[in-house]
Symmetry: C2
Subunit: 284 residues, 2 copies
């Protein structure tokens, strides 16, 4: 392992290794944390890997602690990757004032508006810097990397999946912010991170990206019907409509009784990981 | 549900219901929190139930968030029960000063020494008050209730299981404090909660209880060999020795590479729940 990767913690889990890491990110210009679960019996063979992008207020630890995903990754031979949801302690005024913007709310894009554009570059961090680390230091197979996420991270998974289909060969999401241009969370974040140009916003909105012609083989989405953010913030119906109109393949499943929590994610994560494995193996 | 049970949160999880509750405990004399996972398809039939007692610094939420147990409980038709690890905000001076004593460290006993004896009555709370609530309000089958726990909670599961075999028909533990009389955590807690009499201490030490004649059908224990507390605090070898000497049946499994974390617990919780179900069904 490179000297610049600090191992914060490691735990054996389902015979594999759950590690938490920190490094000086050249993209962000600050220390960043990420986490990797490596399945057992890999013998340094390249493994398929799934990047999981967490939601507002979460960290690199949330999914690894709450989703119960490691057992399935162990069985399927998948590497799991999570990262923090924003840069931290940038010194930018206002970064810690609200829970839905700034720290813990990087929205998985490269900010273009000052002062956020100095450090809030989560898209480049994930797609280039962390992506290379996972391939080079954790033996991931560059032809079998998928992306998934929850809520704001579902937005990230869909938009990065649609924009980098050569990098992420399978895409899924839990309760994603499906049309951020049209919801308060997205409007607030995009205004600050990207400025006022709606044309630029469209590059970071899954519904608009599909409307504008981006296509991938399939999208799997699970959504709870008791999710309190469903109508105002998530808007999966907007995404569904544009997929129907454009022919983008989408598997959108609504689940009665389920909410926005990791109790919902843990219930369906096995099916997502199986979907990723099947899709990645079929694309080889 | 009784009016006095406040529902703090409920989440659907693996088609069952994950609930977090608060009530005014007559035993403790203060509000107490507990959590219940109810498997699907119960139709108000009495279910077997497993009480899981958490370790130092934990709350009623820890196991439900981190152990990934609900999926197995759903499949096996088990109700899961957790509770806070101590009374909270008792006003007793010093209760929040150290992480291994007072708040978050009730040690699952009834304190007999002042000032702790006013509120720190976790044994009676679990064995009588909460036990009745689980039977009466959550349809648990009183003939099929098991107990398990981790670390300090493993101590609690072993000692309450050994002392109330008619209430808890199956007993297991993860990395339990097996001989608290002989370790710093136990000595500190027992001195404050119970005073100086070593004879009283023996009622709350699994190794001593077996030495003194208590017997149950079987004990299942899993222990990681990379657990940093193994030698100084947990002492499973003491328990193993007394079980060998007395004929108490014990299944003690050591696991190379595993530590004291919930990554360890999550790896083996499926086997524990299956063990409880088999034991409880065999005892009908």
């Amino acid at each position: 392992m490179r000297q610049s990767l600090e191992i914060r913690n490691q735990h054996r889990c389902f015979e594999g290794a759950q590690g938490f890491y920190q490094h000086d990110s050249s993209t962000i210009g600050l220390p960043m944390r990420f986490s990797v679960y490596q399945p057992p019996h890999t013998n340094h063979q390249p493994n398929p890997a799934i990047f999981f992008l967490a939601g507002l207020t979460c960290t690199d630890e949330t999914f690894m602690i709450k989703a119960g995903a490691q057992q399935y990754a162990a069985k399927l031979g998948l590497t799991l990757v999570t990262m923090d949801t924003s840069p931290r302690e940038t010194g930018i005024p206002g970064e810690n004032e609200t829970w839905d913007f700034g720290s813990g709310a990087g929205f998985y894009l490269d900010a273009t508006a000052k002062p956020w554009s100095k450090h809030y570059l989560m898209e480049s961090y994930i797609v280039h810097e962390l992506y290379e680390i996972i391939i080079n230091e954790f033996s991931a197979d560059p032809n079998r990397i998928g992306i998934s996420g929850h809520s704001m991270g579902g937005h990230g998974a869909l938009t990065l999946g649609l924009r980098y289909p050569e990098k992420f060969r399978s895409v899924s999401a839990f309760a994603p912010v499906s049309a951020p241009i049209q919801c308060p969370w997205g409007q607030k974040a995009f205004t600050h991170y990207l400025g006022d140009s709606q044309e630029i916003w469209r590059n970071h909105d899954a519904t608009a990206l599909i409307e504008d012609g981006n296509r991938i083989a399939n999208i799997l989405i699970d959504q709870g019907l008791e999710d309190p953010f469903l109508t105002e913030q998530l808007c999966p119906g907007q995404l569904e409509k544009v997929c129907q109109n454009t022919g983008q393949k989408l598997t959108l499943r609504y689940h009665p009784g389920y909410d926005h929590s990791y109790y919902f994610i843990s219930t369906f994560i096995a099916e997502h990981l199986k979907y990723h494995q099947d899709t990645l193996n079929a694309s080889r």
